[in-house]
Point group: C2
Amino acid sequence: MLKYSGQTRILVAVDCVIFGFDGENYKLLLIQRGFAPEKKRWSLMGGFLQPEERLEEAANRILKQLTGLENVYMEQLHVFSDPQRDPVERTVAVTYFALIDIQKYEKQLSKEFHAEWFPVKEMPELIFDHEKMVETAKHRLRYKAALHPVLFELLPDKFTLPQLQALYEGLYDTTFDKRNFSRKLLSTGLLVKQTDKDKESSKKGAFYFKVNKQKYEDDFQAILNLIPKPDKLSNSAVILN
Amino acid sequence: MLKYSGQTRILVAVDCVIFGFDGENYKLLLIQRGFAPEKKRWSLMGGFLQPEERLEEAANRILKQLTGLENVYMEQLHVFSDPQRDPVERTVAVTYFALIDIQKYEKQLSKEFHAEWFPVKEMPELIFDHEKMVETAKHRLRYKAALHPVLFELLPDKFTLPQLQALYEGLYDTTFDKRNFSRKLLSTGLLVKQTDKDKESSKKGAFYFKVNKQKYEDDFQAILNLIPKPDKLSNSAVILN
DNA sequence: ACAAAAGTGTTACACGTACACCCATGG
DNA sequence: CCATGGGTGTACGTGTAACACTTTTGT
């Protein structure tokens, strides 16, 4: 099976940056390595690409191992290839980022992999170049979410407008005017108002919405203006950092 | 050096989708393979990732081999990993796309690699999954150029507004109103009007412009509305296909 | 003088932003 | 009855699209 002679074969790893949102904060699912090197240090969930496997399959396999979930929103992010990035052996790492509804997370935390959700803002140090991977993923998510309705992937099937707004505000670390926010989001036609309310977080209760799945799929690639622009300069600033 | 035991090492290829623009049409730089398998068939320029090399270095090395150019705009595109994609041996292919000023292309065509520029619309059949790579690159370029001033990379230092408009029109296969186009592009502050004119393509002559390099670098990541939106639906359509 | 391409200005509309008050409910 | 969070409407300004005529000059 080795037919291109004189070439070096290299390990190909797949690492997953898994985002969740608990209603207040963005979270990352990390695992603590139980073996050397770097034992006890935190890292992204990853694994090696297998001989008969495509990268997406590997990423899904890893995600399922860790979360029990399938059919999750996932996107190829970037390949990290510094020859020294893994001190054990030259490894090229293909990163994926995934958005999951944290409530659907099925496995017992820490059971098989010593996994834990960390607030993105209070992450431990990670091994190798995994922090750079996380930075890249955060950046990509901010970019993507400004233009496409991707953040719904982080919410349960039923959610309220205040929840949705908290989700967007958390990502850009800012606050939006709720009147404009609701008008803009409703005007996309992506939201279907339900008749029942969430009474957990307020006395009055907030109406639930669901995503119009058909329109979500049809419009996903459309460029939507999902975050406000107070003025030109701060707009650029918000999207990019 | 093999320390992760039980894992399969895989060939990592780098393939470059190289775009140029000749004033009328988008072009792709392709090479004709001089050896089996797939001898005489056209393909993207590529090569294997070397042991001590990062992917970007490999991509630049390959680009320099084929074009003689360095410091070219290049972007990691996507990794293709179908186990059957290369019938010779399992190979994971990391694609890059590059934008070059076709006038700066230095090598004699066909000299070393039997290379040729093909209009994007009249490409020959390509080997393996290279046509899929080209499709992905075209899609990404359309997306990117709608939001960021990336197309300047395809033009010489001095260019005219009509040339610039032809560049945008070619990419989206449509026509724009020249009054709105010039107003919009000038309003970005990215263009510096020169005092001399291009007299080649008209009797009256068209003023040359140069890119304001400082502002280009500062604003590159800003989200600019570089292509018109006749209405919501057709906007989405234009950007995405 | 005429053909061919470059260059420019105005108007109408849509969209986005700023902003303040009322509503419903549980305690 | 009051405190808390949910929900809504308007007015203004900005940005974008539609649209037609004049300028320049080579032949």
